[in-house]
Amino acid sequence: MKCSHTWFDENVARTLADESLRAVIGQTSQSKIESRVVATAKVPNFEQLRDLATQIKQHTIEHLDHYLERFIEQVRANGGIVHFAATAADANACIARIAQDNGLKLAVKVKAMTTEETGLNAALAAAGVQVFETDLGEFIVQLDNDRPSHIVTPIIHKNRQTIARAMQRELGVPYTEDPETLTRYAREHLRDVFRRCDLGISGVNFGVAETGTICICTNEGNGRLSTTRPRVHVALMGIEKVIPRLVDLSVFLKVLSRSNTGQPITVYTSLMNGPRRESDPDGPEQLHVVLLDNGRRAIQQGRYREILHCIRCGACLNACPVYRHIGGHAYDSVYPGPIGKVLTPLLNDPKHYADLPQASSLCGFCRDVCPVRIDIPDLLVRLRRDQADGKAVPWLRRLAFRALFWALSTPRLMRWSQRVLRWGTVVGAKGDWNSRLPGPAAQLTRHRDTPRPAAKTFRDLWQSERDRGDQTDQ
C-alpha cells in the first residue's frame, strides 16, 4: 500500500530495530501515564478544570489579537521591550541583534520549544554568542550533539550509559552511572558559566495579558537562575501562549504537570514582571519579549485553530502507542508525537511531512489525556482530508481506496467482492486464515495471519436466522 519508501519509513525502521530504545521509551511513557492517573484522581474536580482550561484557551485564541495587544501594553508598562518575529529567521536575527547591541557574549538558556523551533542556538553561535543549555536534559543533548526526542523529557531516549559516556568524553570527568554524581558534574560545569553569563534566554509557558507577567515552569531551578542572573533576559514566546488573567494561570498550573509527570505542580514556577526595579534585590537590567508567529497566525485563521490550545504538557506523547514504538527522532521535527503530527505539517512543508498525519491508528488515547481536550484524531482526519482533496495521496493508495469504496457501494457488489476475496486468498490458506498471501499482498501477511472472508457471510446466514426467530416468536 505504500508506494515509495520515505524518510519517515527509514526513521521508523531504525527505531523499530532498536529493542532497548523502544523498551526505555515504552517504560518511561507508561510510568508517566500511570503517575498521571494517580495525580489527577487526587483532584476531585480535575475534569472540570480540564473543561475550564479548554474554554479559556478557546476564548483566548478566538480573540488572540485583543489579548496580545493587552499583553504587549502591559509588558511595556512594566518596562519590558517587545519585538515581533514573523518567521523563525526573524526571531533569530532579532535575538542576535539584541546580543550584539549590548555586547553580550555568553548566554544561558532555559529549555524552550520555541528556540528549538527557530534553531536559535546555531544562529547565535554564528553571531559569536556562546550558548549553554542549563536544563539537565538539554545540557546533555547539547553535550552529546544530539536532538531532544520529547517536548518535556528531552532525553527520554538516552540511558545512563550514553549519558555517562558523553559526560566523560566532553567534560573529562570520571565515568559513572550514578545519577546524582552525573547531575553534580553538570552543576559544577554550569556554575562557572552562570558566573560569567550576560544573556539569559527562555521561552514562555504562559503570558498573562492582564499584568504582562511571563510565567516559566521548570523542575530544576535553572529557569530562575538563567532569567535573574544575566544582565539581559530574552523570552521567545509563541503568540498563542497568551492567557487573559492571572487567575487563569492557576487553572493551567493545576493541569500542566499533573498531566505529564504527575507532579502536583512543577518544582519551580517563576512569574516575572519586567526588568529589575530599583527596589529589587536581583533581576535583569533589560527584559525583551520576542513574540513568535512563524505560521501560528495562519493556523489561528484556519480550520486547525484548536491545535493552538496546546500547552505543551507532553501527555499525548506519553500516551501515544506510535510514539512509544518509533520515538521522537523518527518524526524529524521539534514537535514529535500526536501534537507534532498535527503541528509539524502545519508549520512546515506539508508535503515533506505527508506521512505524519497518516501514521496514526486514530486510537484517541491522546485526546483522553490532553488537559485542554484537543481532538487530535479529528485534526489528523482533517489533514488527511486536505491530502485527499489536494491529490496528495499516492496513486496506488488512492486506487486501492477507490476499489474498496466501489466494492462497498451496493449489497450486490459487496457480495461479489467477498467471493472474489475468498477465492483470491485461497493460495496459502489454512481454512479461514491465510498466513502467506502472494504477490504485492504479501506485505499484509508479513507479520500476522490474515482472515479470509467466511464461506458463508452473515447475509447468507440471515435467512435461516430469520426463520428460526419466526419459529420462536410463534
Binding site: 491508528s361 486510537c363 482530508r385 507479520h447 452473515f458 426467530g469
Partner: protein, 252 residues
C-alpha cells in the same frame, strides 16, 4: 415489552465474523427484541471518512441512511463501536449541509447503539445475571473507538461481572492493538509492534478467551497471536453472552 431493532452488521462482521452477527441476533431476541436485517445495508463510510475521502464517505452515508428507513423499527444496533461512532458522530457532521439528509442523519444517529451499550442503556440488562458460559479464564480488550461511547470501566464490567466468570484484567488496557484500518497496511512495522505488545499483554493474563468487540481489532490481534502460536480464543461479547445463555454452542 419488546423493542424493534434493525441490525447493522457492518461490512467487516458480515465478511469475516458472521457468527458474531448471529450471536447479536440471538441475544437481542433472548431479551425480547424483534430483530430485522435491512438488506440494503453495506458500509457506514468509516474507511472513507478516516482516510480523508469525505465526499465518498458522505455518499456512503446517504446510502446507509436510505438502507435504514425508520418506519418499522425503533433502534439500530451494531456489533462495532467504531461504526456506531461513525454513524452517531461523523455522519451528521458530514451531512450537515445536505438539505435532504441532514435531519435524517441526526435521527439515525440518535437511534444507533453499539451492542453492549444497547444492552446496558436501553434494555437495562443485568450482566451479573448472565452466566459466563465458560470456566476458562477470560480477559477483555477495550477497542479504541469505544472512546466517547463507553468508558473502559463500563465496557470491561460487561465481561467481568458475568456470573461465575474467571476474569483476568488486561494490563495497559488503554493501548491500541495496532489495527487502525489502512494504518496497518501503510505502516505494517509500527502496527505490528503495537499488536505484539497487545498479544504479550493478553498472554500474560493467562486468559484462554479474549473478548474483543470490534472485528478489525479482533482479527489483528488474533492474526498476530496465531503467528506466534499463542493459543487464545477470540470472541465478541455477543458470542460470549449467547454461549452463556445457551443460545449458541461454544466454539470448538
Amino acid at each position: 415489552m419488546g423493542k424493534s431493532v434493525a441490525l447493522f452488521v457492518t461490512c467487516l462482521t458480515d465478511t469475516f465474523a458472521p457468527r458474531v452477527g448471529v450471536a447479536v441476533v440471538r441475544v437481542l431476541r433472548h431479551f425480547g427484541c424483534d430483530v430485522r436485517f435491512p438488506e440494503g445495508q453495506t458500509c457506514c463510510g468509516q474507511p472513507a471518512y478516516n482516510n480523508g475521502f469525505h465526499r465518498e464517505a458522505a455518499a456512503q452515508g446517504r446510502r446507509m441512511i436510505d438502507a435504514f428507513d425508520f418506519a418499522d423499527y425503533e433502534h439500530v444496533v451494531t456489533p462495532s463501536g467504531s461504526c456506531a461512532a461513525m454513524v452517531k458522530h461523523h455522519l451528521p457532521e458530514l451531512l450537515a449541509d445536505d438539505a435532504e439528509y441532514a435531519e435524517r442523519s441526526w435521527r439515525l444517529a440518535e437511534r444507533t447503539y453499539e451492542f453492549g451499550t444497547f444492552l446496558a442503556d436501553v434494555l437495562h440488562v443485568d450482566f451479573t445475571q448472565i452466566p459466563a458460559g465458560t470456566s476458562r479464564p477470560v480477559t477483555y480488550h477495550y477497542s479504541c473507538h469505544l472512546r466517547g461511547i463507553q468508558t473502559i470501566e463500563g465496557a470491561s464490567a460487561q465481561v467481568s461481572r458475568l456470573a461465575g466468570i474467571d476474569y483476568r484484567p488486561l494490563a495497559q488496557i488503554e493501548q491500541c492493538c495496532g489495527f487502525g484500518g489502512a494504518f496497518g497496511a501503510v505502516f505494517p512495522g509500527i502496527s505490528n509492534a503495537m499488536s505484539q505488545d497487545k498479544v504479550t499483554a493478553i498472554a500474560a493474563t493467562g486468559a484462554e478467551v479474549a473478548v474483543v468487540n470490534e472485528a478489525g481489532c479482533s482479527f489483528t490481534i488474533e492474526g498476530t497471536a496465531r503467528r506466534r502460536s499463542v493459543s487464545v480464543q477470540f470472541k465478541h461479547l455477543a458470542e460470549l453472552l449467547a454461549e452463556g445463555l445457551g443460545l449458541m454452542d461454544d466454539q470448538p
